[in-house]
Structures are given as C-alpha cells and as structure tokens.
C-alpha cells in the first residue's frame, strides 16, 4: 500500500528576483516499510519537495501543482485536508535538533503535548506515561528523569531522539526526515540512523529521507532519487544507484566523496621515518571495515570514557616520539570490534 504518492509535483517560489521553479515535475511514491531517499546538493530542491509534500511552505510564496496523495488525501487539490494527516498519518523529523524544540518548556511537556494532540481523551498523567514509553522506544535511558529536563540540558543526539519520539507520538505511518543527522557527530549519527531502521523493522513505517550524504542514503534507503535543479536526474534501487550509476551527475557525486579505503590521490605517502615513529610491534588491530558487531550485541563497541584512555605522556607527533609508539602498541584488544 502506498503511503505517499507524488505525481508531477511542481513548486514555484516567489522570490525578490522573480519566480523560481524550485521543483520541476517530480514523481515518486513511498510504500509501507520502505525508505525512499531524495539526494542532492544544496539548492537542488530536495527539502523544498519534502516541505511542499507536507504543505509547510508559506502559502503566499509557494505555488504547488501536480498531485500529492498522503494517506489517500490529495493535499494539493484540497490544502485544508493536510491538517487531518500532518502529525497523525505523517510526521516530520526536522534537521536541526538544537533549535526545533521550545527552549522554555520541558521536554516532557512538549512530548506530552504531542501525545494529547493525537489522543485528546488522555489525562495529563496518562499522557506523561505515554511520553515515557515513547522515550523508551527511542532508547533514551531513564525516561521519566529526562522528561523533566529542558532542551538545553540534553545533547544533540539525545534531542534528535526526542524529536523522533515527538514525531512518533502522532502514530504516523510515514516519517519525513529532513537531513535528520546532518547536525550530528558521526558516531551519534550512526545511532540515530540505526534507530530509524529499527523502528521501520518493528512498525513497517514508511520513511521519506532527505539527505545530501550518499553514505547515509546508501545505508537507509530502498530507493534513491538523485535530484538536481528541481528534477530527478536518476532514480532507482539503492544498489543500482551506488554501484551502477547510469548518469554522469551521479557518477560525479560518487567520485567527489573522499574515499576512506581507496588509494589517496592528493596526499603523498609518508616516507618512512618521517615525523612519527613507525610502530615497531603493533598489536594487530582488526581492520575497521571488518564485519561489524551483530545488532544483537550492539554494546560491544559502545564508547565509554575509559575506553579513550589517553596514552600517559603521549602528546603529539614528533614532540615525544617514544611515547607515541608506546601508546599505539599499548592499545588493548578489548573494546575492539570482534
């Protein structure tokens, strides 16, 4: 069943410089349990598409045409129908978790508010219980304590989980995630993306993902639409787009990503004996791209402060060469990837 069907969507924005056609006839759909990703560089129209689908663009300044069917309602032909679906059948996960919440209310109040929007019949204490359940479902430890906190007391990764919980409060069938991890650190990003995939496995929720990051798109998507200048330049299954791109633009996008494993092109190899001492007898570290820990035991590589034990006295590059060697060889195998 299709949760979202978009056909020939066009969005024109009224700007000072005149009318800009930000989205120029795109068609796609998202089904149950599917992640569909719009990927593109800044100004490609990917976020405008998502905001247009949710009717979150300012009414006087954006003109939409085409067909957008959300949970069976055409929100372009009948703009008022969006209020029946937004926050219920479909929810948004915004880009910047640090500014998306109201700073003067506790997290609990904002989350309980979202719960009661969906279920006005719930009492305050029932709504609070439901809010705690939702925080638990996004893996926030000690939910009832977190509910009493204000946004500034929480980290970015934590706030993004709370925003996901708020999005889930409406019991949506479709999530629109607009660059949900772009403002987060990479290790935090991994946790949030894993949460989205887990939610999808558990509830078959559909996800429309907006990102500029091909790595993120590769991990979460079933299908990818590559967007440029308001149009899809290439669409297809995730493996086809990444491994067998058909258009020059997609190939260029992929080529522009700095590779972590392929031979480097610009940085020359460090000549032996320069700057940093060679490891004399390094503990053979497992290759980082080795099969990752099974999802059943995800805590195997959980970061703990004590894991990042600082090499005693080891401080830098050539300043203290001897200690740097000690530091690297002293790396303990525990905490390592299996």
């Amino acid at each position: 069943m299709k949760l979202l069907e978009v056909e020939d969507l066009q969005i024109e924005l009224m700007t000072e410089a005149g009318v800009v056609r930000a989205v120029d006839g795109v068609s796609f759909c998202v089904g149950e349990g599917e992640t569909v990703t719009l990927i593109g560089e800044s100004g490609s129209g990917k976020s405008t598409t998502a905001m247009g689908v949710l009717r979150l663009l300012p009414a006087g300044l954006a003109v939409l045409s085409g067909r957008v069917e959300l949970a069976g309602k055409d929100v372009i032909a009948d703009p008022d129908s969006i209020v029946d679906v937004r926050g219920r059948s479909v929810s948004l996960i915004p880009q910047d978790p640090m500014t998306a919440l109201n700073p003067v209310f506790t997290v609990g109040r904002q989350l309980a508010g979202a719960v009661r929007t969906r279920h006005p019949e719930l009492s305050r204490s029932q709504a609070r219980d439901r809010a705690a359940e939702l925080l638990d479902s996004v893996h926030i430890p000690d939910p009832s304590a977190q509910l009493r906190k204000y946004p500034h007391q929480l980290s970015g990764g934590m706030l993004q989980r709370i925003l996901i919980a708020i999005a889930l409060a409406g019991e949506p069938r479709l999530l629109v995630a607009d660059e949900p991890t772009s403002a987060l650190d990479v290790t935090v990003q991994a946790g949030v993306l894993d949460l989205l995939l887990e939610l999808q496995e558990r509830t078959r929720i559909g996800i429309l993902m907006i990102t500029h990051d091909l790595g993120v798109a590769r991990v979460v998507s079933d299908r990818i639409h590559v967007m440029k200048a308001g149009r899809f330049t290439e669409s297809g299954e995730v493996e086809d787009i990444v491994e067998r791109p058909q258009t020059e633009y997609t190939r260029k996008l992929l080529a522009a990503i700095p590779q972590l494993d392929a031979p480097s092109t610009t940085a020359p190899e460090t000549p032996a004996g320069q700057n940093v001492p060679k490891q004399e007898s390094p503990t053979p570290a497992p290759p980082a791209e080795a099969p990752a820990a099974s999802p059943a035991e995800p805590t195997a590589t959980t970061l703990k402060p004590e894991d990042a034990r600082r090499p005693a006295g080891a401080t830098g590059l050539s300043a203290v060469p001897g200690t740097a060697t000690t530091a690297t060889t002293a790396a303990r195998p525990e905490g390592a990837r299996p």
């Binding site: 190899e269 980082a288 990752a292 402060p305 401080t315 590059l317 300043a319």
Partner: protein, 282 residues
C-alpha cells in the same frame, strides 16, 4: 627511528606545539577545553586534527592563531614561543600563521570587494596600493577565480567561491602555516572536492604547511600525511594518516572510523550492522 633522524627532521618543523592547555571560565568554574596537547607541523606537509564536536579541536586552532590566549604550554613558530607573547610583539609574527574559517558566509566583510578583501593583509605589510591590487589579482587567479571576480562583493559568490576568497586572503600574508578549521565542512561534496584539490595544488606551489581540522575522515585521508585524534581536550591517538585510519589502535578512533559511512564499501539492503558502532545514546 634514531635520535639522529629525529633531530634532522626537527629542523624542518615550522610549528611546534607542546603541552598546550586552554581553559575557559564558565559560571560553574573553569572548563579545560584543551588539555595537554602537543603536535608539530613540518614544512610543506599537512597534519590533520580530528575529533567530534566539543573535543577542543577548534580551540586548538584559535589558540594557534592567538584568537584565545593559552593557559599554559608553548606554541613555537619561527623559533619564537608565541603562546604568551603580548599583542605588540605578536603582531609582526601574525602573518606567519593564518586561518581559513569554517563559515564562508560569515568570514568575509560584506562591504568589501573580493580584491579589497584579499589585499587587506598586504596593507598591513605596507605594500603600495598598485602592488597590492596586482598581488591580490594574482592570488585570486591562483585560487581559480576569474578576473571578473575582483570587483564583486561576497554576496555575489557561492559558498565554494567564498571559501576560495578566504584562502586567497589567508595566503596574502605569505604564511608558513595555514590553519584550516573545517574549511570544507560547509560545502557541497562536489565543491569540497574542488577546494581540497586547490589546497593540495597550492601546497605544491608555495610549500605552505597546513593544520587541517576536520571531523570527516574521508577528507582527512585525502589531504593529510599525519593525523592527531582528539577527544575531550586530549590527544587519544597520533601517527601517519594511512596507518591510523587503516589500523586505528584506540577504540575511539576505531569507532570514528567505523561510523564514517563510505557508500562504496557498504553492501546489502539497509544493513543495520554497519551502524552498530554505537548501541546507545551518546
């Protein structure tokens, strides 16, 4: 490595940081943002400083160009320790270490033209107006902008073009060390690739050294020969980039490495296993 080699290479070191400590006062007491960091940068080479937000890497950058005064430790540039130098004595040395800022939108004066922005550091060096304009035009050409760019203001340029102007300005005072603080992070991936290529070319032409601050390991791998990994104000691992990234010894580096999603190496549909670097909330 022998002591002999070591001394030999030290002659080539243009920037040596030892036991750098930076404290920030906060309402609840002193926050130690940088805690005993040492590193050195050799002529014509690139050292990358890696870590997640809040690890202190930008504070190191700001201390090196003396936008903040270190609490203790030394920053040796051109055989002078600039860590505690008073502003008057520091000023003639400032040209030797320059910075390219993260945000290409906030770091250029909107009232000046590209040529004026690039020429400004030359003014401080006492170069004549005619010479200044000529040199600025040369630098703008060097960073790959057309001559029509000279008389346009920052607002008329894209993010990548602005970053090129920022690089040209930093190069105008002929620095020995260029500190690039997340210089490509605000750019689209295709533009980032162009700026990285430009930085590599400029290094070959001018012999400038880079301290390249980034959270993106792919970028770090591309541009640097050596890498320093920071966490919570401290160095957790340091060494040749190839080695640290291919065989990270510290669990933290390993987690950073594993969390960098490289589309070319990912297999399967929606593979949650590649995300299992971190099971719980950070």
């Amino acid at each position: 490595m022998t002591e002999h080699h070591n001394t030999e290479h030290r002659a080539d070191v243009v920037l040596r940081v030892e036991h750098l400590v930076v404290d920030y006062p906060t309402p609840t007491g002193i926050h130690r943002a940088v805690d005993d960091v040492s590193l050195s940068v050799e002529r014509g080479r690139t050292v990358a400083l890696v870590g997640e937000s809040g690890c202190g890497k930008s504070t190191v950058a700001r201390a090196l160009v003396r936008l903040v005064k270190p609490t203790s430790g030394s920053i040796v540039l051109a055989e002078t320790d600039i860590a505690q130098l008073p502003e008057k004595k520091l000023r003639p040395l400032r040209s030797k270490i320059q910075m390219v800022f993260q945000d290409p939108y906030g770091s250029l004066d909107p009232h000046l033209t590209a040529q004026q922005i690039v020429a400004e550091p030359l003014k401080l060096r006492g170069v004549s107006t005619a010479e200044r304009n000529k040199e600025a035009a040369h630098l703008i050409d060097l960073v790959g902008l057309p001559s029509t760019a000279l008389n346009r203001g920052p607002a008329e340029f894209s993010g990548g073009q602005r970053q090129r102007i920022g690089i040209a300005r930093a190069l105008a005072s002929r620095p020995e060390v260029l500190v690039c603080d997340e210089a490509t992070s605000a750019l689209d991936v295709s533009v980032q690739a162009q700026v990285l290529k430009l930085l590599a070319e400029l290094q070959q032409q001018t012999g400038v050294s880079y301290l390249f601050i980034s959270h993106n390991l792919g970028v770090v791998r591309e541009i640097s020969q050596d890498v320093v990994v920071m966490r919570r104000g401290q160095v957790v691992e340091a060494g040749p980039t190839q080695q640290v990234l291919s065989q990270p010894a510290e669990p933290y580096t390993r987690a950073l490495r594993a969390a960098a999603l490289d589309p070319a190496t990912i297999r399967g549909r929606k593979p949650r296993s590649v995300l299992a670097v971190q099971g719980k909330v950070a």
